[in-house]
Subunit: 400 residues, 2 copies
Amino acid sequence: SYVLVLNCGSSSLKFAVIDASTGEQPLSGMAERLGSDDAEIVFKQNGAKQTQALTPHTHKSALQALVTYLLGYPALVQSLTAIGHRVVHGGEHFREAILIDSLSQQRIADCSNLAPLHNPANLLGIEAAQEAFPQLPQVAVFDTAFHQQMPDYAYLYPLPYEYYRDLGVRRYGFHGTSCRYVTAEAARLLNKPAAELKLIIAHLGNGASLTAVKHGHSVDTTMGLTPLEGVVHGTRCGSIDPGIIAYLAHRLNKSTDEIDAILWKKSGLLGLSGLSNDCRTIEEAAANGHEQAQLTLEIYAYRLAKAVGELMIPLGRLDALVFTGGIGENSSLIRARTLDWLGFLGLQLDSEANEQCIRGKAGKISQNGHAAAWVIPTNEELMIARDSVALAAAAQGEQA
Amino acid sequence: SYVLVLNCGSSSLKFAVIDASTGEQPLSGMAERLGSDDAEIVFKQNGAKQTQALTPHTHKSALQALVTYLLGYPALVQSLTAIGHRVVHGGEHFREAILIDSLSQQRIADCSNLAPLHNPANLLGIEAAQEAFPQLPQVAVFDTAFHQQMPDYAYLYPLPYEYYRDLGVRRYGFHGTSCRYVTAEAARLLNKPAAELKLIIAHLGNGASLTAVKHGHSVDTTMGLTPLEGVVHGTRCGSIDPGIIAYLAHRLNKSTDEIDAILWKKSGLLGLSGLSNDCRTIEEAAANGHEQAQLTLEIYAYRLAKAVGELMIPLGRLDALVFTGGIGENSSLIRARTLDWLGFLGLQLDSEANEQCIRGKAGKISQNGHAAAWVIPTNEELMIARDSVALAAAAQGEQA
Ligand SMILES: Nc1ncnc2c1ncn2[C@@H]1O[C@H](COP(=O)(O)OP(=O)(O)O)[C@@H](O)[C@H]1O
Ligand SMILES: Nc1ncnc2c1ncn2[C@@H]1O[C@H](COP(=O)(O)OP(=O)(O)O)[C@@H](O)[C@H]1O
């Protein structure tokens, strides 16, 4: 059965019609630069690509364009059994995917404080989809849900306790849907039930996070209240001395918001390299002798390895370190550099296997030892599609 | 030979006359609450204690009171061979202790941007001591110096590179003098040259830091540009999601400086427990069933253990984890809780030894295994005295 998966970002809308059993995508595409003059939407179907300019440049008009396009393919619309929405922040309320009703919609809105750029966009997608397809069950799948069983000593920050109680300041973690998918895949590939595995999942994309997964549950993760914390991201700084913010505000005579924008948009791979937030560009420059690019990759791998060291604490033993996401699935260089630091955990690179696991190929990239390293491509959309089908079926069962 | 050691804090002045070979302190004391109406200075000599109120309430008047007191003991003054100053921030310039001259004094002033509360106070102490004892060599010993050999990939933050180049934003690390002392003691107690040891030193006082010491050099440490980063401190938060600052600024409608003050003064053990920044008070409350106090200790130990995991990356192997500082030297509870997480490194608590190593007693607190855990009391003042004697002797040698 087919699911329409919607991922409304702050200035983008990704969508796909997905076969929840095979992962096949008869239609997919993306609206980009929403809010700016050159907003456009791209549809990909049967290998063909079609682009439309968007006026007005809003999420709403992007969704309308998508609906109009879909209505031109009645058979495709007929085949849909649910619409699955990626929702960034589920706060402490949402511990798993849910069927959307008016109460849960309100609760997603209540979490907007925690993700002011993302949850409102997610809600726009939900409203537009309800209007266009009132007969279809709508499902929300949260980036944070997989981490909600984390123990309190892992999610609390050493801040005045009332900020947790009154303002919800705690570690939530993100990339949860990816971690859930990869955990299931790891269990399949390692041929052991998830309930017996201790994994560290390094999801390395434009945003990057590491999660310790113990017996199928997240027990700690490097992202926090926001997706800024943790390892080096494409344009975000990850963890830094929090004292740096006031220092920079004074030295540069800038406001909190201006410094915050630098930490989110001008830092990470981009800030260190001075070149790009794209790992490929930096690897090419490094190969051509660009010293700052070389140093950037060193810092990236070193901080990644340190995060693995941290996450060994809640795990105590490691079955597998799993690389996923754009960088994790493709950069044999970053993987090799990271494993160089991790010999003390019994990890030793298998260079040949490492070079082969790129562009979607899964495999083990370490030699036999106490622990293994793997590449396992993620598929958040497929996970959302599966959740949607399962919840839609459960809802129908209840109705019958 | 005797050294007058001065430690000028932002609102305090600690001082001691120390025998650099035995560590004996014929005179010691402290001026507190400088800048406030109830500023006072306490002298301890031969077991007797004498307190004086200070007017004006300045560092300068505290130093004058000390000089006046000293001049009442001409034999003691005669025995001094040097004055040693603790200086918090040596920036990238100072890689070891130095004899103070006008050039280096200017350079210490140049580092004031990096430690606006501390370096100016340190300079006041230096100026007053020069005026009172112009004939004595003055030595500066820096908290940051021991960390200056750290590699670039460990000290650079994933921020725009020009903030390092133009504003000095990097990891400096602190507690360096303590680490240097403890490293030498560890070599003595483990009966192995420092050049062959891999240590993690957990200096746990009101401020807390962990340092990876490889072959006698700091290779990474948890404090950063400022002493705010890293593990849980008495009133400071340590590492948090940097995104929390803008979040709190918005939710509480506060300025960067107001939030910064909360991170430095209302967080850490104090903020989490809601009780005190004093570990003893929290341990007592926890023993009496206070749940928030229990959780505070759990978080403290968990974050400490995670920092050990991180610092395993640059070390690759661990000879000894060393506890020092007020909490490290006295809290068998925190040590036990921390080691509970570290079994995978081959560390196993020796409960009996752990209970015995308190109030200045050094010893091994782990059972035989790959790695050992030790308690080694620190003595920063003695280290400063030794540095001062060594530099004064070298200077005299040059003159002769
Ligand atoms: N062959 C490759 N080598 C190195 N990095 C790659 C390669 N292919 C993609 N990447 C990197 O993957 C990152 C994007 O990851 P992705 O998971 O697609 O991001 P997002 O978080 O936006 O979903 C970019 O930094 C890109 O440079
Ligand atoms: N017996 C004890 N048990 C637990 N903590 C202790 C004990 N004695 C001292 N401490 C703690 O040591 C800390 C102060 O450490 P210290 O190294 O003296 O601080 P500073 O960083 O100011 O030099 C306080 O939190 C105090 O509670």
